[in-house]
Symmetry: C2
Subunit: 373 residues, 2 copies
Amino acid sequence: MNGSPARDERAQRHMDGIVDTPHRDGGRATPPGAAPARPKRGASMADVARLAGVSAQTVSRVSNGYPGVTETTRQQVLAAMRKLGYRPNSAARALKRGEFRTIGVILFTLSTTGNVRTLEAIAASAAREGYAVTLLPVAVPTQDEVRGAFTRLGELAVDAVIVIMEVHLLDAATVSLPPSTQVVVADSDAGDRYSVVDTDQAGGTRAAVRHLLDLGHRTVWHLAGPEESFAAQRRADAWRATLEEAGREVPEAVRGDWSAESGYRAGLRIAEEPGCTAVFAANDQMALGLLRALHEKGRAVPDDVSVIGFDDIPEAGSFMPPLTTVHQDFAEVGRLCVQGVLRQIRGESAERGTTLVPTRLVVRRSTAPPPTG
Amino acid sequence: MNGSPARDERAQRHMDGIVDTPHRDGGRATPPGAAPARPKRGASMADVARLAGVSAQTVSRVSNGYPGVTETTRQQVLAAMRKLGYRPNSAARALKRGEFRTIGVILFTLSTTGNVRTLEAIAASAAREGYAVTLLPVAVPTQDEVRGAFTRLGELAVDAVIVIMEVHLLDAATVSLPPSTQVVVADSDAGDRYSVVDTDQAGGTRAAVRHLLDLGHRTVWHLAGPEESFAAQRRADAWRATLEEAGREVPEAVRGDWSAESGYRAGLRIAEEPGCTAVFAANDQMALGLLRALHEKGRAVPDDVSVIGFDDIPEAGSFMPPLTTVHQDFAEVGRLCVQGVLRQIRGESAERGTTLVPTRLVVRRSTAPPPTG
DNA sequence: GACAGGAATGTTTGCGTAAACATCCCCCGT
DNA sequence: ACGGGGGATGTTTACGCAAACATTCCTGTC
């Protein structure tokens, strides 16, 4: 915030170096005795134009592939560009056009599979559309932090924002969003105020629970994710609803924090429950810890206890035993997020609403009928 | 899909609510008969200046925290800013300043732990320094693809680039980097042309292999990463060197592709080797697959075979058994990358060279002395 | 051969910001 | 009371690009 004088001076000196001689005819020649300071700024359209013997506008036309330029001229300009190593200044371009061709992504952490995979898909989709992706991690998921991040985002060169987090954290924060910024939210509640793209948590959960019931289990226990997580909440709700629909007893959910370690701790408790023959873990990492706990306690999977996960992380097939789980199509979520913001940017549609991406049950070897008896 | 006017209107109303009325009366008057197009651009310094009754320059001074503004004036300006929902236009700012305060990160994939964790640390460090991070994923690791990515980067609003990949893929590509762009490379060869920051692969490997030898194993097998990977190469080399130094026999390395699945397949082969009592896996995921293969083949870990990994992913402690592994300090790697580019940007140092981040051996329960006999 | 029509190219302008320079005004010392 | 110093504020300008408008020049037509 406060400008350190030393830094300003340095910047100043630097600027002096780069702005080189205002006289036109002099061109960009380095003064004879001067140090060979590297030019900070590259060649501009004007430089190219001068070398190619055309006007700046013609260079612009070539640069943007506009028609109305003779092939001969075009080649001259291209040659000049190459020679000078010209590349368009995106700041100037953005200033002129009023858009940055950049999408901001705001999220808490890259330590959950879902966020990372979604981000990856977003980046890929955006690149395909000619958009760059700017990352905006928020250290701590408090409203204050989020607000700060949004404020920074506001100053950032971004046309739209994709938010990977719970909507309620946005609420107070939103005030600081630039007026024309479009927002799409992943991993959150149905928003009437934003577009939301999310995995079909309920559907996936239902499939998982039904799979276990269909195998003959009396009921299904739940190793839930952290309370603050919307996804965890949704999965827990759907689990309960599915059991109730089927008229089954609903055991108390055991809570973890998504980590394998928490799954292990929870697993030690679950292993003590004699009546428990099937567990639905809210993600694969916790399922991993659960498997270890059951193993240590001598409860065989799937013979004594069936375990099912959620996410289908790449390693799930290598668990012991290979994990039956609910596959999330993160790539699709990311793709839809990008598609959503782009549509909004282009003014094609401002429709709010929730888009659900279906899941797929992947049956491996951690689930089986309950032990007879 | 198709833009419904009604929807657009709702969006408009909503946005107004957020930013408390952007200026309307100003120069940007909507043509009488025209559709009520939402103001694409927000308030500018001039708008704020007008409302606050000061000059644009004073607004600029307040905006940048420069001295020479009376507290009274400052408050007036701040009030005007709030009222108009003003936020600096980063494009104009960048154009004027000649810098974007943004760092580009170019990488292949977010599916390896290392890349993700490094990226996370980079983003965090950059944010702390007031820099944003722009992501530039490259779909396929070919020189052409990389070159394309760099070309796009060249047009991108970026002051510096951090490359997370092998240097040789950069070689042909670099030509298209803007002249003044600074580059730091993570996860690669010692570069005399770039600054390199990397985990001390050799040191970590040596620690792992020595740990096993010290436990009494005659020799150590190696489950290597893919040939193209520099890190995999480095670990394999160090593994061989350590064994040779100790005068031990060097078994042929078994190659995987980093995935747990490939570790499993390799593990099935390794399990058949009667003389094998210790395996050094080049990463934790492959170690996971290896554990499963050994388990299936009835080879107990660590009683029959010791297994050690590399990375120390969060789940490593929840493997069966908990995995002894080499901890990589990705956070530090990311931090040093950012520090490196910023130093270069600021002209404090143009030194090229390799910075190695030390590793730490985390001993859990997958390693033990070899079976007696 | 004069002229309309249109394609190729040039000139002007302004996007929002901040450096550089120009004023203004208040307070101080003599 | 007057001149000067310095802080507060205003004015001008340029950053690089591209839309809008202006100009040039060539072609074909009668």
